[in-house]
Amino acid sequence: MISRRDFLQAAMASAALYGGSGFGNWSRLAAQQALTQDDLLSFEKFGNVTLVHVTDIHAQLKPIWFREPEINLGVGKNKGRVPHITGAEFRRFYGIEDGSPSHYALSYDDFVALGQGYGRMGGLDRVSTVVNAIRADRPDALLLDGGDTWHGSYTCYQTEGQDMVTAMNALKPDAMTFHWEFTLGTQRVLEHVQSLPFAALGQNIFDAEWDEPAEYFKPYEMFERGGVKIAVIGQAFPYMPIANPGWMFPEYSFGVRDEHMQEMVDEVRGQGAELVVVLSHNGFDVDRKMAGIVSGIDVILSGHTHDALPEPVVVGETIIIASGSNGKFVSRVDLDVRDGQMLGFRHKLIPVFSDVIAPDPAMTTVIDEIRAPYLADLEEVVGTTDSLLYRRGNFNGSWDDLICQALLEEREAEIALSPGVRWGPSLMPGDPIKREDIWNVTSMTYGEAYRTEMTGEFLKIVLEDVGDNLFNPDPYYQQGGDMVRTGGLGYRIDITKPQGERISDMTLLKTGEAIDPAHSYVVAGWASVNEGTEGPQIWDVVESHIRRMGTVTLDPNNSVQVVTG
């Protein structure tokens, strides 16, 4: 159905991103000369339908630094396949020139040097400019938000998500689906959902008691655009009550539910849908598996795992689009739909270079109004960093090391555990650390930092359990996060082994001694999914640690030895 020619067009459209300044030509001036807003937005209109996809914004209203992962291992069938390639390998796969804007936007290495030239990315006012430009070209384009929108910043926490609802309403999406939104708690989520001027979708959001589709969340919405009947089916994050505190939304049950997805696809086709789009928060590997099981889906707009891919991945007759995170990218997908069939596509992953794309003044005003009451708190400088602070990757990032260090020292613990989440922007060496920056990597509704004792045996079970959530060879048994970050504890992990056999050589770093299964260790951590967890909020712990340090300098962390087989 998708011809080789159409596929090449898609590749060429995304190839238009590349080029730009040459290798080593890293000054800001050179970057800006090589890169223009017109270049970034140029797109030869194709077919009769346009989809615009944003996802996993994590409440990032302002431009940010965001370093993509260095380590993103795939297992089973996904070993060595996108999105599980990084750095130079990723660039070679997509023909990205070293030192180019795409190198900076899509891969991790030379991040600091390239960042000097290309600047921050994202900012919802820049995203708005991109969306407006696409709408000017195709007024009835569908804008779809993949969720993880109402979470992840100081203002989002203080306003219980109202900041993002207000800002996104100004962007006028046509539908969204959900994940972290539910950690606002059932009552608050429903308040927002019932206020939305667009569709709140999730075919896998079920009533926990009756095990039937939940009220207030429709499985799908039908649209007519460009003379084409389009069904957009929502797929919320399948493992919400497991990965996040289920007690905050006990009324709901989720799961992949691909049988029900098939029923919904058949139902919308029966109602005359000529194009079936799934707006998904499954994570990429789960989406790829689902595309091979459920028939009749034309496009999956994939979210959750924060992958940014410059070309769609094609599974059978389904194309999967991955649009990154934190407002760094906007995907535009043009489709030629005729006689009830998707005949071709053209795609572009638009990188939102904040110094190149002009902010939309109307959205800037909205953002400024949201931030105004909190501005002094947001911008208070707590310390400075000499090191690059980043998180994204399967194992500890430097932000995680700093958080673990804070837990060890401020909470007087032997071992620290920090959740392997994929959100949280980076900071460049020399940057001041503002309160806002700390909240960007810690903000959540269950941020209490606990302090407890765990035996060595129990710690191994923790690592094995989280390891299986990441490295189970069957994507349907993965939850899409990264490995739990550890402080004061080293270990070896063989990702090719089954659960129970992956973790070995656990070492208490303070003494260099092997972890004793029978001994109890003092453990500090945060983000417990357990109701009634007590302790100071993690952002306060990290802030007081940074204040004491003044300037943050981190050594490379070699405490986790990874065996990939």
Binding site: S253, S325, G420, D465, V466, W526, A527, S528, V529
Partner: protein, 139 residues
């Protein structure tokens, strides 16, 4: 603060205590239960569908559904529970559909097995691994 044993089991980072390890102790009991149901007859595949979550949201109450058009009865086993027997659903000749759903308790990550006895006396089975975990934090 202090944690009770129960609370420790649910510390947010994906702590699942002993239940995280696949349970294999009751295999002999499972074989016995299957043999008792089938009388030792060969068990084919296809014709029976077991629907269960890949990862249980709560191991104490896991929703499952079995469906086998034309079946006379369906045996459901939780292969890793200390007592694997869950239920046998019998369908009379007037049953409108041979489908049943219930909620079961799973001691840990394990296979759930459904074996259907068809009207012609043949047997078919389906199985699905259900992971029991307390999870951690996703993206």
């Amino acid at each position: 603060m202090s944690f009770t044993r129960r609370q420790s089991l649910a510390l947010g980072l994906g702590t699942a205590a002993a239940v995280a390890l696949p349970f294999r102790p009751a295999l002999a009991a499972v074989e016995d239960d299957i043999a008792a149901f089938t009388g030792g007859a060969e068990v084919g595949s296809g014709g029976v569908t077991l629907t269960a979550p890949e990862i249980a949201e709560n191991g104490n109450t896991v929703p499952i559904e079995v469906s086998a058009p034309g079946a006379a009865s369906i045996l459901v086993l939780a292969a890793g529970n200390p007592n694997p027997g869950v239920a046998t659903f019998n369908f009379g000749p007037l049953a409108a559909s041979q489908t049943a759903s219930t909620r079961i308790r799973l001691a840990g990550t394990q296979d759930v097995v459904a074996i259907a006895k068809m009207a012609d006396g043949s047997f078919a089975s389906d199985r699905k691994e259900v992971k029991v975990t307390i999870g951690g934090c996703g993206g």
